[in-house]
Amino acid sequence: MSPERLERELRALPVAWPPAPDVAEAVVERLHVEQPRAARRSPRRAWRAALTALAAAVALTAAIEPARSAVLDWLGFGAVSIERREPDAPARPLGAGLDLGDPVSLEQARAAVPFPVQVPAALGAPDRVFLDTALGHPIVWLAYRPRPGLPRAGETGVGLLVGQLEGRAEPLIEKTAGAGTALTRLRVDGDPAMWLTGDPHGFAYVPPTGEARFDDRERLAADVLLVDRADGVLLRLEGDMDRATATRVAASLR
């Protein structure tokens, strides 16, 4: 096992951290008492500051509450439990730890790759964009947060990933689809497409110049729609959406 793989596995461990207490109010209160009288602001400003701090504390408590009620499981003294599912409030930025490459802007991604990077009109601008160059040829990932129709995929906090690269899924699709994977062939906008469900699947394909690649880095381990587009771009949609949603999103790329 490579060191990179081990590090990846560690980063993918969903840690259920004990809920962080809100200390802001207590800190401000202590500092207010300890601050030399001469340095204090006018009573009116102090009053306003106290109100601001209170509002912040209330907002924070509201933000923490869902996480508390989620699977966060504090096992008591000196213990951090690890759950297979992440708390409702994602602790990491969208897509972090999924091995998607470097976070970039859409413009940067477009400037860096030789194919046109498209965005699904059905969803609008992505929440985050990543440029993955680890395999020697670029893959652009658009990441979307969960939303109606795009449920949170497993423990990742991601609603949908849209990957675009130069390559073809055929004829290696059988390799991609292992024994536990169900494969359905369909068409998206006239292009051949495959809908994969079941076991987590790797990603076998042929880039335009090199030999076949197998990218076994698991990302969402959710359902996958692959589209071999006529323009040579291989489209990969990953998420917990249903097939109709996936094909609708894939067909809306502009």
Partner: protein, 190 residues
């Protein structure tokens, strides 16, 4: 959490003794501060006190903070120091008990076709359990650097600040710790 755009402004105001601005900075950084403290002192109650104390001390030290730099590594250094002191004072050798939950969320089953076997999910859980158990067997120093870097996702600079060492040391320590973890966890059976 990413550095908010208005952080330099908040720092400026806090340096001018604006407590509301400082409260805002505490709110932004307290979660990562608490997790760092938990990893170092191994106890959430101690960690909470360490974080509170650290933020009070950091306010007094703010005039010495170099404006324009990221605040987080600087804060984490103070927090980690406070957490270490408390751990030492308590004379406790608490270890973090990392555990993998047995339960597989129902959601995982939804997409498996009826004919598919449930092995992969079970394997993944087993693999995680093996990894966490191996992590538990590592010496404290190895475990902390791995936890800060890989579980808490601190940057190299932040980890260096929290451990009070140089970045190069973080790099070599992490690499050695991962080597030992790899030996400990054994061959990948998955």
């Amino acid at each position: 959490m990413r550095r908010p755009d208005n952080e330099p402004e908040l720092v400026e105001r806090a340096r001018a003794r604006d407590l509301a601005a400082y409260g805002e900075l505490v709110r932004i950084h307290q979660e990562i501060a608490f997790r760092t403290a938990v990893l170092i002192c191994g106890d959430p109650h101690e960690a909470e006190e360490a974080v509170q104390e650290a933020f009070v001390k950091a306010y007094a030290a703010l005039p010495r903070f170099k404006a324009g730099r990221p605040l987080r590594p600087w804060l984490l250094a103070i927090v980690a120091n406070e957490a270490r002191n408390r751990r030492r004072a308590a004379g406790r050798r608490t270890r973090l008990a990392l555990q993998v939950a047995e339960q597989i969320p129902a959601g995982d089953q939804v997409h498996a076709p009826p004919e598919a076997e449930p092995e992969p999910a079970a394997l993944a859980t087993e693999r995680r359990a093996a990894l966490v158990a191996a992590l538990e067997r590592l010496p404290e120093r190895d475990r902390t650097v791995i936890a800060l870097r890989c579980l808490l996702d601190l940057s190299e600079a932040e980890t260096a600040a929290a451990l009070g060492v140089r970045r190069g040391t973080v790099k070599s320590r992490l690499s050695r710790a991962l080597d030992r973890l790899r030996e400990e966890v054994g061959p990948d059976v998955a």
